[in-house]
Symmetry: C2
Subunit: 230 residues, 2 copies
DNA sequence: ACCTGAACACCGTTCAAGT
DNA sequence: ACCTGAACACCGTTCAAGT
């Protein structure tokens, strides 16, 4: 029997006992989604697994490697649209909505977004699909590449915004819970002479800041109109 | 010229000795820009100031308060365009370029972006100006508010992307320096049958990912075309 | 081979004490 | 009032040792 060498990774096969990479990733994801990114600690992860703190290091080199693996697993949950369906532009929107939803619903994805750029095969698969759809929509290779990057930048920014808002809403233990209302008050009390345009637009602005995925889609459509229709 | 009372803050005036909030903020900004966000430590900040670790706590309640103050100071460096100049759309682009440049050049701004939403008067001033320009461009109040949020989301996402890329480029101490080349290799070695669209577009894609402020401006113009021209 | 406990070098912050 | 040093409760990770 040929022994498949694990590619320059120190972890070996057959973790015969209680622990294995999949179980660790499950626990990591559960911990992240339940208690938030700042509670994702090697010690907390080990406790979640009912194991000593250092047991995890037998399967992953360090915390960054776990982050990358969680990243890859999350990306793999994105359902790629069927290659041939409706118009390319609609497929792009649907795919981007999936990416936005993933990032926005899983606070776990936030730190990995913030840290290293796309790693893992699943991220590459998403990029490939986006590029294919942009080419199908009639863009030149260079324009398609630029559009793909711009779209991802907008998607990341929007999802980051949404997550940040949701985190600000709760989390206030010593502060009162209504941080959003607090911001609204801050805007409302802004002097009219210093901020002439803002005054009176506070309701519209707070509504827009809570736009969520609907605002994302509206902005995306505008972006696509500008990038494709040009 | 009116005496502004320090609002419910425990710090008093006339810190007669060596330390004061301005000096602390100078040191914090220098530390952040020189050594990066992860090196911004209360202990390192005190060392930079040539002072005991706890001295800073006489002027700021905690690290978050320093972060907010740094945020505010950075935002204040944005030069607001003259109220009446060229066309509103061009003024928007110029203002947004300033914001992008600030975020992209100061890695210090990154953590505050990632953490809490806009705090401080300077951020409000930027928002007010953007809203005014969008209204001047002919948008309804609700549309202007939505457009402002979308534009900021795109700006934050793009700047985050740029900073992240630059951080990935250096930082590799044990790894080799060319992480960008490494990613390029990852993309190039992607099998053509799994990623049909990506194959052959690697040069275009890496060029787009290094697009920087020029790509940002191009995407912004597309976005504005879609939002205004619609 | 997989897992453990102790230990190291950090971090933000509290607290009692100096001046 | 401003600043200090020791201490506390964390963190990621190394290391020698168990099985």
């Amino acid at each position: 029997m040929t022994v498949t060498e694990s590619a320059r990774s120190p972890r070996r096969r057959t973790p015969r006992n209680t622990l294995n990479p999949d179980r660790i990733l499950d626990a990591a994801l559960a911990l992240l989604d339940r208690d938030g990114p700042e509670a994702f600690t090697m010690r907390a992860l080990a406790t979640e697994l009912g194991v000593g703190t250092m047991a995890v290091y037998s399967h992953f080199r360090n915390k960054d490697e776990i982050n990358d693996a969680v990243n890859d697993r999350l990306l793999s949950e994105i359902e790629l649209p069927a290659p041939a369906g409706c118009a390319p532009c609609d497929q792009i929107i649907e795919l981007c909505r999936s990416v936005y939803r993933l990032f926005s619903e899983h606070p776990a994805a936030l730190p990995l977004l913030t840290s290293r750029p796309m790693r893992g095969d699943e991220a590459v698969a998403v990029i490939d699909r986006q590029l294919g759809l942009l080419l199908a929509a009639g863009l030149s290779p260079a324009d398609a590449a630029r559009a793909q990057v711009v779209i991802m930048q907008y998607t990341v920014g929007s999802a980051l915004w949404a997550v940040r808002r949701r985190q600000a809403e709760l989390g206030g233990c010593d502060e009162q819970a209504g941080v959003r209302r607090q911001i609204q008050d801050r805007l409302a009390e802004a002097p009219a002479d210093r901020y002439p345009s803002l005054t009176g637009l506070v309701p519209e602005l707070t509504a827009a800041q809570d736009g969520g995925i609907e605002l994302y889609e509206q902005g995306l459509k505008g972006l696509l109109r500008g990038l494709l229709g040009g």
